[in-house]
């Protein structure tokens, strides 16, 4: 199991060793490194070491799936971008490797200090790779908030054991930190052709969901309500604009899944919500690389359709909120649960409209084969997770899902197709303007974020010293 945790670090080192090679050779080599990263991610996903203890780590099935999907998507985005640009960005590959290593360790770590020490390099890697000022600051602020929450928990409990979950104000700090990182991910992804930071979006989203499944779990219905309302606002803005754009779709889908994860702790819910958020954000990051192709796959992911992981997350959240609403003894306790239950169908409906616009859009053809294949891969993974159990509550639905999928595919061959409403012909439902070259790196924001992260490191070292001094170990 130790090999798996360090594999991405080895890949990062391997990428760094290619710095002196020619551009074309380095590009091919880095694409091979990315493929290696995807293989490591698959190993995490199928998790041969679930439950094994190695040093301060013990990997749960839920964390293993999240780590696998997160790191796999990050390497996938890097590989697609590198296959198109062929500029041999070894520095980005190193950052992806470092961040992926951090994600692997925070997924398995069971002690606070190693958790924080191993996350900070990953946060720094994300900050260095992104160009959006607010996103970089939010990553740093989110990390600081999580550090404060875990440090306070350690002080209160006289223990370094990772609080799962934290409680009271500590939980609020940790959960708020995770939400800040998610917001950063919706802002910071370089949805731009040639943007080097796009691979970090799945890293940030995945790390946030690992927190929400661990020390930040079960923040409750009030937190969930706030986030889902914010996500719905983003969805409404996208619909009112008349043409969909990744700028508003990304916060919509990631926000809805974050709201689901905040609701309560349930490994099935967290893993499906996390998978949907990561895969959805990845598909949107791959949009510039697959322009003119894979519209239906993108639309289906955004629409949270049945047969995909997204609907499983929504259905699971609805089940949990319904049960709490029924079981609540007093109205003020039932109210927020009922509100969440009522809003979930609305999120589903909004997803259908947004997703159908993305699916039917006609786009200029400016795709790369690697980008299209990567998008298809993301879609297939979402369907596989949606259809097959992987720790779910039973297998009786698998056959029905398979029959429905086969019937649907057969119908496309046999049944007549509907006529298209004339006004849809020639209509453009996608706003392509955000696909512009990335902005220049904002050094001021980078310095500020680095200062905040340095302060977090000092705080970690400080309470590590304090813990050693009073004998936490």
């Amino acid at each position: 199991m130790g090999f798996l945790y360090l594999a991405n670090a080895v890949l990062a080192l391997g990428a760094a060793l290619s710095a002196g090679a020619t551009t074309s050779a380095r590009s091919r080599y880095l694409q091979g490194v990315a493929v290696g990263g995807i293989v490591v991610a698959a190993l995490f996903f199928f998790a041969p070491g679930v439950g094994d203890t190695w040093r301060t780590t013990r990997l749960s099935a839920m964390d293993a799936r999240l780590v696998g999907i997160t790191t796999g998507c990050a390497w996938l985005v890097f590989a697609a971008a590198e296959a198109r640009r062929r500029d041999g960005r070894w520095d980005v590959a190193v950052l992806v490797g470092v961040a992926a290593t951090s994600v692997a360790f925070i997924g398995g770590s069971r002690w606070s200090v190693p958790w924080l020490v191993l996350w900070v390099p990953g946060a720094l890697a994300v900050v260095l790779a992104w160009s959006a000022r607010t996103a970089r600051l939010l990553i740093a602020a989110g990390t600081a908030s999580i550090t404060a929450g875990l440090a306070l928990s350690a002080s209160a409990s006289d223990s370094w054991a990772l609080p799962v979950p934290a409680d009271g104000m500590k939980l609020a700090l940790v959960a708020a930190g995770a939400v800040a990182i998610v917001v950063a991910a919706t802002l910071g992804g370089d949805a731009a052709r040639g943007g080097a930071g796009a691979a970090m979006t799945p890293i940030a989203v995945g790390a946030a969901f690992i927190v929400l499944g661990g020390p930040g779990r079960a923040a409750g219905p009030f937190a969930s309500l706030i986030v889902v309302v914010a996500a719905l606002v983003c969805g409404v803005v996208d619909l009112l604009r008349g043409a969909s754009t990744a700028r508003w779709i990304r916060p919509w889908i990631v926000g809805v899944m974050t709201a689901a994860a905040l609701l309560a702790f349930d490994p099935y819910l967290i893993s499906r919500a996390g998978a949907t958020a990561i895969l959805g954000a990845t598909a949107l990051e791959l949009w510039p690389e697959s322009l003119g192709r894979a519209q239906i796959e993108r639309g289906a992911l955004v629409a949270l359709l049945a047969l995909t992981a997204g609907f499983n997350a929504i259905a699971s959240a609805a089940l949990i909120s319904f049960r709490h609403a029924i079981d609540a003894a007093v109205l003020w306790r039932a109210g927020p649960w009922s509100a969440v239950t009522a809003l979930l169908p609305a999120t589903l409906a909004m997803g259908l409209v947004i997703g159908s616009r993305v699916a039917r859009s006609r786009e200029e053809e400016a795709y790369s084969v690697a980008g299209v294949i990567a998008t298809w891969t993301v879609f297939v993974v979402a369907v596989l997770i949606g259809v097959f159990p992987f720790g779910a509550r039973g297998t009786s639905g698998v056959t029905l899902y398979a029959v429905a999928a086969i019937a649907g595919i057969a119908a496309t061959r046999v049944l007549p197709r509907p006529n298209v409403v004339p006004e849809l012909v020639g209509r453009v439902d996608v706003d392509l303007r955000p696909f512009a070259p990335p902005r220049a790196i904002d050094r001021g924001a980078g310095v500020a974020a680095a200062v905040v992260l340095a302060a977090a490191v000092l705080a970690v070292l400080g309470f590590a010293y304090e813990g050693l001094r009073v004998g936490f170990l």
């Binding site: 029924i326 589903l348 259908l352």
Partner: protein
């Protein structure tokens, strides 16, 4: 428009109908949201080839239909389709079981649900008259069947599968479904544009009221 979209529209609608029928006919144990998932697939297929207004109305109608199914779940305190039908097999259909206010709420949710189906069906994927689209009519019937089973399923031994084993009760379920489908198609002929939004507004109010009533009993 993406040239693959019309074909994908057909595929998702068929897949959604198969999914719904699988749960409604008891082949696979399911919950209310399982049916909503299948309905969502069908709606997605419709939205792909509908205009903006039609897609928005179809999606809003989906929300209201989910709410109607949720009223039945609240009435019986369970989201399991088998348990909802089973409760009705012991006590009678939701629309007849007292107290009177709860039965009235169930009636309201059923009628509002059928009206919402009408608005949902008013944006067919093609411009052809509804009568010449048997697939479209079948879709409407499947959705009305879901409402029939949670509100008006006759007592039949407590499981969805056994509804079919008693011919009289099967006939009652079919009759309710046929009547409901005819009513929905009638609504669909008129509920376009602004009229559709008015109908949706009214059905939303009824569903919210019904949900409030069954929550407090």
């Amino acid at each position: 428009m993406n040239p693959a979209a019309p074909a994908f529209s057909v595929g998702t609608r068929v897949a959604g109908a198969v999914l719904m029928l699988g749960y409604l006919l008891g082949f696979v144990p399911g919950a209310v949201m399982s049916v909503v998932g299948g309905l969502g697939l069908i709606t997605f297929g419709r939205c792909i080839t509908a205009d903006a207004g039609g897609a928005a109305r179809a999606a809003t109608a989906l929300t209201i239909l989910a709410g109607a199914l949720g009223v039945a779940a609240l009435r019986w305190g369970t989201i399991s389709l088998q348990q909802i039908v089973g409760a009705q097999s012991v006590l009678g259909p939701s629309i007849t079981v007292g107290p009177n206010v709860a039965a009235g709420a169930a009636w309201g949710a059923l009628v509002a649900g059928v009206a919402a189906v009408g608005v949902w069906a008013a944006a067919p994927p093609s411009g052809s008259p509804l009568a010449r689209r048997p697939g479209h009519i079948l879709e409407v019937a499947v959705v009305v069947l879901a409402l029939s089973l949670v509100f008006a399923a006759p007592g039949a031994g407590g499981s969805l599968g056994s509804v079919g084993s008693a011919p009289l009760e099967w006939a009652i379920t079919l009759s309710v479904t046929v009547l409901g489908t005819a009513a929905a198609l009638l609504v669909a002929r008129h509920a376009v544009g602004r009229t559709g939004w008015v109908v949706l507004g009214l059905t939303a109010v009824v569903i919210l009221a019904a949900g409030g009533v069954v929550t407090t009993i």
